[in-house]
């Protein structure tokens, strides 16, 4: 009788630990997915950090002969009162070559609005070959009422881009964020 009680207690503790552990596991899935996606580029998200030009150019052959098309898309999420469009819908670029383009944004509203641009690449796994040196998506952008701005994007596509990709599409969606929030919070997340 005593043995079963001790056993029971042991089982109860183990099972409760399992339950609590699985609750923690659910939360752990969030960073786990981020790591997984960063490594594989699966969800089409590009890194939120700028690639440092100097270190890259030291080691790499610049500009191979291979060319791909990159398309640019600009979307505005519901409730975001900005006009937003790419300067050009597509570019033909050489791998390894540094390119610059920009996106135009204008705040239509009667008050200052802060926006966060969220990138998405299609096909998803191409995202990890798209290296952004300078991007307006790294931080929040604030525009006063009626203000407009050309926001630059400097990037290169790594020459290790898989053979089968000839076109890739980079889309930004602008979301409205509360103006008071610190801008560093988002840029560290990928």
């Amino acid at each position: 009788m005593i043995e079963t009680h001790n056993n029971q207690r042991k089982h109860i503790v183990l099972l409760i630990s399992l339950a609590v552990g699985m609750f923690g596991f659910a939360y752990a899935l969030v960073p786990l997915y981020q790591v997984f996606c960063e490594v594989t580029g699966l969800n089409g998200k590009t890194s939120g950090r700028a690639r440092d030009l100097s270190t890259i150019y030291q080691n790499q052959v610049i500009a191979s002969d291979r060319e791909v098309t990159i398309q640019f898309l600009a979307n505005v999420n519901n409730g975001m009162p900005w006009e937003f469009r790419p300067a050009t819908h597509q570019l033909r670029v050489r791998l390894g070559e540094l390119n610059t383009t920009d996106f135009y944004a204008r705040n239509r509203a009667a008050q200052a609005v802060t926006g966060q641009a969220v990138p998405s690449v299609s096909p998803g796994f191409a995202a990890k070959y798209l290296h952004k040196v300078e991007c307006f998506c790294f931080s929040q952008q604030q525009l006063e009422a009626g203000e407009d701005r050309h926001m630059p994007l400097r990037f290169y596509i790594g020459d290790d881009l898989p053979e089968e990709i000839h076109t890739l599409t980079l889309s930004y969606t602008l979301f409205k964020v509360p103006t008071v929030r610190a801008s560093t919070l988002v840029s560290n997340r990928s």
């Binding site: 519901n78 998405s120 969606t173």
Partner: protein, 377 residues
């Protein structure tokens, strides 16, 4: 049910059967073949898996029914006493695995082709929102909204329903035959899903992300689909209509669209330069309101609870004009009130705001001019 006269029981049976009398049996049983190579291969896959299931079902249920008859107690009074056999377990584990491999191979090759989105001939950006689609032709730089056009009178059973009830739109997506069309999907608010059964293309539209799919259409025609992910109130009311044209006709259509785009900007200039009266704006505003706003705010402006506020006597239509204009043009983030500035022209926006401020007992007497809207953009 317990004790019932024969007559009553007969009546019930008749009533039950009679309830089927309105059926015309114009029904489809099979998955459609569709108009692409991929849709045909998917139909083949469907037939394959269905055939496997039917054959396995016949064997298993056949054995069961046989046993139910032959091994019932009255016919088989002494039960056998076997209760295990390793050989038999191995056989009926291995054979299903082989059958599954037989199904997995065509499924795999078909999927690898479906997921190969490379080298398209044209790309369409499909942006979903509550509750309509926006189509943008990336190369041709034209874009437009596609809204349901079935009248609410039909939905509310006040008029007989048309043949394409709930599957008709104002501006269908127009595509050429025999070109690889790449579809990029995204959403402005919640998750939607773009689906055309005849193309066997179904792709979720996710806010903040783009997805891609492709199709090569063999033949011209009109093809209809629907949103395939619950997206709120009017999920049932955002159909997809695609008009597929022969290549030459498609090219001509693109040119026509470009021309129309230039003309409408000319029209917009004319609208801006004119000063409109209340009498001119109110009917336009009412039309815009009924088409786009009434589904949530009701045609009488009374709204639906806290989710869709009342406009009749409401704070915003009777309050400061700038606030009202801002709300209609830019929406309210985090709610289903979307920004209408991208979708409606200056004239339509001016008209609907004027209408809201002067209908259903609201009497601000405000008249909003298209040029005011233009200046606010």
């Amino acid at each position: 049910m317990i004790s019932m006269s024969n007559g009553f029981r007969n009546c019930l049976t008749l009533a039950f059967l009679a309830s089927f009398s309105t059926l015309t049996f114009a029904v489809e049983f099979d998955l459609r073949e569709g108009v692409t190579d991929m849709s045909r291969r998917i139909q083949d896959l469907h037939h394959l898996s269905l055939a496997v299931c039917v054959v396995v079902g016949i064997i298993v249920f056949g054995a069961m029914f046989y046993s139910i008859v032959a091994h019932r107690r009255s016919r088989h009074p002494k039960p056998a006493d076997f209760h295990e056999s390793l050989l038999v377990e191995i056989v009926w584990t291995t054979v299903p695995i082989l059958i599954l491999i037989g199904m997995a191979i065509p499924a795999t090759t078909t999927l690898l082709e479906i997921e190969d989105n490379s080298d398209p001939d044209l790309t369409i950006l499909i942006t979903a929102s509550q509750w309509k689609w926006h189509y943008q032709y990336l190369e041709a730089d034209i874009g437009f909204y596609s809204n349901l056009t079935t009248p609410t009178a039909q939905i509310n059973n006040l008029e007989p329903k048309g043949e394409n009830y709930l599957l008709e739109v104002d501006n269908p997506l127009v595509l050429p035959t025999n070109k690889k069309v790449r579809f990029l999907t995204t959403s402005n608010d919640v998750i939607h899903s773009w689906w055309v059964p005849d193309f066997a293309v179904k792709q979720d539209a996710i806010p903040g992300f783009i997805n891609e799919a492709w199709a090569r259409l063999d033949q011209p025609g009109l093809f209809r689909g629907q949103c395939a992910e619950l997206c709120g109130k009017d999920h049932a009311y955002m159909p997809v209509v695609v008009e597929v044209r022969l290549e030459a006709e498609f090219d001509k259509w693109i040119d026509d669209q470009r021309l129309a785009k230039e003309l409408s900007s000319g029209q917009a200039v004319a609208d801006r330069n004119k000063t409109w009266t209340m009498a001119e704006l109110m009917p336009i505003g009412e039309q815009v309101f009924l088409t786009h706003c009434a589904t949530c705010h009701e045609s009488t402006g009374v709204g639906q609870g806290v989710t869709y506020p009342a406009l009749a006597g409401g704070e915003i239509p009777n309050g400061p004009l700038e606030v009202h204009i801002d709300r209609v043009m830019n929406g309210r983030g985090g709610t289903e009130m979307q920004s209408w500035a991208p979708q409606l022209s200056d004239r339509e926006l001016a008209a609907v705001i004027t209408y809201e401020r002067n209908a259903w007992g609201n009497s601000t007497a405000d008249v909003v001019q298209p040029k005011t809207i233009y200046a606010t953009r």
